[in-house]
Symmetry: C2
Subunit: 344 residues, 2 copies
């Protein structure tokens, strides 16, 4: 049994594949603060997420998968800005100091940290409320980008083409499988496994994102569902978006499991995709598609930016009357999110 | 009733006294990430704390005081490094979206943020677990210091003098009053009020800390109690510390409320002081004391760094056999901290 927080930190979080030395990190774990050096002409890019068991991830999640997922989900925010990962900080509120859990969780973190050269540099480890034993994980990721090069939400221009990476709705379908809310027999075992994997381990779009810096006019990561997140780009840019729903990239596994009438609700409002949605001036699309091929990142052009506001959904040029909304943590009743709907 | 997280952020956290423009902040709230510019020759200094109701602060704390306290406590980590505050991020896991609570909490944050020119630049706002309605606050503060100038724990040298700012044990005594664990009648109403204020609103040592950069060899902030935190300096520096317990700065209010036999336990192990403990080469002490007078910061010289390891407590040159330990979140039994012992 780990005896105190310093012991926990030393044993599980100062491990070499997690808290390794990295350029830009002048001082990591072990003092009151961590120290970063940001190169000349670079900006520090940072994003924070708080994730709680039963709200943002399933209770009794496999700690190895969870460790990977919480970091991947945060790196997705850096990707959305076109930033190069530098390091991350981690605060844990733990129900108990279970060595096996800590070992597997920190190993999962380490896999993603190593793969992205993004070490753990500090944070906080505490025991949670004794009468409310719920795991809470707060992560802040830090990246760098040349001054002025970070991809913002507000740069879309009329006529820009709208792209997404990967496929949409897979993670939401995977979550339905995990929660027993989907009719399993519609998909093959391999398809079901792929969908569940999409929920646990979102693809990292960090490498692709670095190539977007010169090409995209605006970007966001799709965490609450395309409808909500593309809406943010449109609103921030003071324009509207037109999406051809038949162009939405849906995986074979998704099409197998999910009945056609539910495709749009899940692909547009399911959330947890952690794919990128970005806009590209129309004279850059050829270059963009070539760059993404070179990066090995599938992309689909799903529509364009137009005058007006909000997102308009079209099929065969006809506007559809869809009422898709992203996930809302605070419904009008004032009650919190239902725990049966795990979602960020 | 605030209707969603974006509405909550807009209404309570993008207020002008909290999310104001500041040098170094290129982009604040509203995109996937915040962007910082760190000046040439500067390092970014950062620290993260997770605070949970019933563990790190009292249930039903006044949100205005709580907002101030959670930021002050984190700024104390920047002070311990001699860093100039730049900005902070905030993640909230909320039991409900109570407008009055949000208004008061964010106003409290704003008071401290404005006073330190340290705006809120981003974070995360979510609803907590519906069956475990406990408020969780995670803050990361960001500061800057010239490269190589940050005060670390490991710089103490044999013969350096050990100082602390302010007085010790007041916050622990204030917490006892708040929890009804102290015999009120021993202190005057004004004294009781002062002790309670020491718990709610620790003095900011940020300005004093900037003057320590050139003078101190090591520093830490006292969050878990002097015994534990001075122990960190000794261990990190590979040396021992000798403290004259009669030199420990204790306030009149503390002396009035706390029986003499309990003074040391509370002053050395009570925690929540958020004063600085630092070491100064003996030929710099005069300059140090002058600088602290100019900053209006009371300091006391309590001992010196010596060969060996650990902290030795002395009175009249005799070593005392004290068994004082800092707060441990994970006692050997594996159970979490008792909720009756609010502490970080």
């Amino acid at each position: 049994m780990a005896s105190d927080e310093f012991d926990i930190i030393r044993r599980y979080f100062q491990r070499s594949e997690l808290a390794f030395a990295a350029p830009g990190v002048a001082l990591g774990i072990g003092d009151d603060c961590a120290l970063l050096r940001v190169g000349p002409g670079q900006e520090l890019v940072m994003s924070m997420d708080l994730l709680q068991e039963g709200v943002h991830f399933l209770p009794d999640s496999d700690p190895y998968l969870l460790g990977q997922r919480v970091l991947l989900v945060n790196l997705s925010d850096l990707a959305a800005m076109g930033a190069q990962p530098v390091c991350f900080t981690l605060a844990l509120s733990l129900p108990n100091a279970d060595p096996q859990w800590l070992e597997r969780f920190s190993a999962g973190l380490g896999v993603v940290a190593s793969a992205h050269a993004c070490p753990l540099v500090g944070g906080d480890t505490t025991a949670c409320h004794p009468d409310h034993r719920v795991l809470t994980v707060c992560i802040q990721v830090h990246g760098s980008a040349p001054q002025g090069a970070a991809l913002l939400r507000n740069g879309a221009q009329e006529g820009d083409m709208i792209y997404v990476t990967g496929t949409l709705g897979d993670a939401a379908a995977g979550l339905m499988l995990l929660q027993g809310r989907a009719r399993d027999e519609r998909a093959t075992p391999a398809q079901r496994q792929a969908l569940i994997a999409a929920f646990h381990l979102p693809e990292s779009r960090v490498r692709a994102a670095l190539r977007l810096r010169q090409l995209a006019s605006a970007a966001i990561d799709i965490s609450d569902g395309l409808a909500s997140d593309l809406g943010h780009i449109a609103r921030a840019s003071g324009l509207g978006a037109v999406v051809n729903v038949d162009a939405l990239p849906l995986s074979e596994a998704f099409r197998a499991l999910i009945p056609p009438q539910d495709h749009l609700a899940l692909a547009l409002g399911g959330g947890d995709d952690y794919e990128l949605c970005f806009t590209v001036p129309s004279d850059h699309t050829e270059m963009l598609e070539q760059q993404m091929r070179e990066a090995g990142t599938p992309v689909a052009c799903i529509g364009h930016i137009a005058a007006g506001s909000g997102v308009r959904w079209q099929r065969d040029g006809e506007t559809l009357d869809l009422n898709v909304r992203g996930y809302n943590h605070f419904p009008a009743s004032g009650t919190a999110a239902s725990s049966s709907q795990e979602r960020r």
